[in-house]
Symmetry: C2
Subunit: 326 residues, 2 copies
Amino acid sequence: MQKKNGPVVALDIGGTKIMTALFDADGKMQAKDVRQTMAVEGVEAVIERVLAAVRDIIRNNNVSQNQLEAIGIACAGGIDTGRGVVVTPSPHLPGWAGLPLADIIKDKMGVAAYVLNDASAAALGEQRYGVGKGIKDLVLLTLGTGIGGGIIIDGKLYLGARGGAGELGHMTVEAAGPTCGCGNTGCLEILASGTAIVTDAVARIRHGEKTALSAVSGGELEKITVEMIGEAAKNGDRLAQDVIARAAYYLGIGMVNIANIFNPEMIIIGGGMAGLGEMIIAPGRKMVEERAFSINSRGIQIVKAQLGNEAGVYGAAAFALDMGRK
Amino acid sequence: MQKKNGPVVALDIGGTKIMTALFDADGKMQAKDVRQTMAVEGVEAVIERVLAAVRDIIRNNNVSQNQLEAIGIACAGGIDTGRGVVVTPSPHLPGWAGLPLADIIKDKMGVAAYVLNDASAAALGEQRYGVGKGIKDLVLLTLGTGIGGGIIIDGKLYLGARGGAGELGHMTVEAAGPTCGCGNTGCLEILASGTAIVTDAVARIRHGEKTALSAVSGGELEKITVEMIGEAAKNGDRLAQDVIARAAYYLGIGMVNIANIFNPEMIIIGGGMAGLGEMIIAPGRKMVEERAFSINSRGIQIVKAQLGNEAGVYGAAAFALDMGRK
C-alpha cells in the first residue's frame, strides 16, 4: 500500500485529561484540544469522547478523515504496542485492562492507529521536539502521581519485547522498602513520586510535626499538594524541605542506576513534579557525580523536560509518523 | 580502504587469565589459547604477554599478520570503547587506568583493534553463538567475584554514550545497604556476587554458626569458595543454603528490575556462579513472575549461559567482525 504522507492526529489519554493534537505531514503541530477524561463514566464513554475529539480537531482544521495518515495514542499504563492493547491499565482508567485500543480507533476512524505508553511517548517527544533534540541515547523520567520512564536508544524509542520497557518507576531501590501499588517492593515510585512526598508530609504532620502546611491547607491534610509543599519549602519550611529532600535522594539513587545501566548522554526529568526544579533535580545530579562509574557520569546532562504536558502528544505524533513511513 | 574480510583474533583479558582465540572470516573459532595474566608484573609485561599470545596463535595456525582483519579485546573494567581506553580498571588489573589499549595493540600489530567490557562481550557472544541466538532484546548478568552486565538491543550490543552501559552489578537495590567497592551503596554486586556469598558465609561461621563448611575448608575460612558453598548446600547444609538463598533473593530483585526496565525476551545468567544452576536462578525467576509487570514477565526466558568462559572471546570476535565491516 502506498504511504499517504498526510497529517496525523496525536492523543494523550490520561486519567484526568485527553489531549488531542493535529500535526501536519512534516510533524508540525497545527492545533490542540484538551478535554476531561471522566473515566468514571466507563470505557465506552471515554472512547466516544476520544473519537469526538479526533473528529472535531480534523473538521475544525479542514482535514478530512481520509487525508489522515495515522493516529498516534499515548496512554497511561502498561501497553502492548505491537498489538495495540492496554495490558496493565492505569488505576485511573479502571476497566481498560485488555482493551484493544489501537484496533478500536482504527475501526472507527478507518486509519492506522498506534498505542504506546505515555512516558515512552514523552521521551520520544522530548527527543524529537524538546530538550533532547539531537541526543541519541537518553532516558526520561516522568514524576507525578506515579513515576514513568521512557528510553531512547540510538535515536529510536526502545519499547522492549512487548512495549513494556521503561518502567523505571518500578525499579526496586530499597529491597526492604514499602510495598508499591504495582505489587513490587521498594520501587522508586513509592519512595520518590508526588504521592510519596504528600504521603510523607501528611504522616509527619499527623505525627505532630510543625509546618506551615497545616495553615496553608486550612488543616485539611487531604488537600495538601506537591505544589503546596514545594512553595512551603521555598519559603523555608523545614518539614516541606525534608520530604522533598527525601524524595530527591531516592530519585538520585534512581538516576545513579540509570547512569550505570544506560550510560546515557542525558537524563530528562519531566512530569508535574519537574516544576519543583533544581530542588528535586540537583541532589541527584550530585549523587550521579559521586556514585556512578566515572565513565558513566562524565559529560552526562541531567535536565528538566521542555515540552511540559505536551510531550505525550509530540511523542505520539512522532511515533505515528515513524510507523506510517517504516 | 577496502575491507579485508580476513580472520580475526579475539582476546579476553581478565585479572587471572588471558584467553586468545582465532576466528576465521566467517566467525568460526579455529584455535584457542589460555595463559596466566600475572598482572602483578605490571602493565607492560601483560601487554607483552598479550602480544605474544596473538603472535603465537596466528603463527601456529598459518595466518600472517597482514591477513588479519582486526583484533577484538574483551577486558575487565569500565572501557571507553569509542576511544579504546580502559577508564576504570578492574581491581585485578592495577595500573591500567587510562591505558589506551586499542591503540597499543593496533600500533604493535598493525591491524585495527577494538576494546569492550568483558560482560558486554559475553552478552554479544551468547547472542551470536550461545543460548541467545536469534533473540533481539536480551540482558546478560555475569556472576563471579563481581557482577557484570551486557545489553543487547535489537540484535546489537548496546554500549551507551562511551561504552559504560550495562553496569548492572552497580545498580543500587538496597539504598540503606553496605558500601560497594565501586563507592556506590547497596549495589547488586555487594549483595549477590560470589564475594558476597563467601563473605556472608565466613561472617556467619565466625559468629559461631555450625556448618559442614568448617570441616570442608579445614578450618581455614579464607579458603572457602562459592563452589564449596554450593556443594555444601546441595548436601543439605543449612548455612550454605541460607547464604545462597540470600544472594538469589537479591539477584531476583535485580532480575525484576531488568524485566521492568528492559522488557527483554531473555535474561541470561553467566559467570562462574552460574554453575550453582537453578539454586541461584530459580528464586529470581519466581520473583519476576510475581513482582514484575505482567507485560514484562510474560514469556520472558531466564536461563543459564551456554558458552562458559569462552563467551568473552566469542563476543570480542563478533564485535571485531562487526566493526571491521561497518
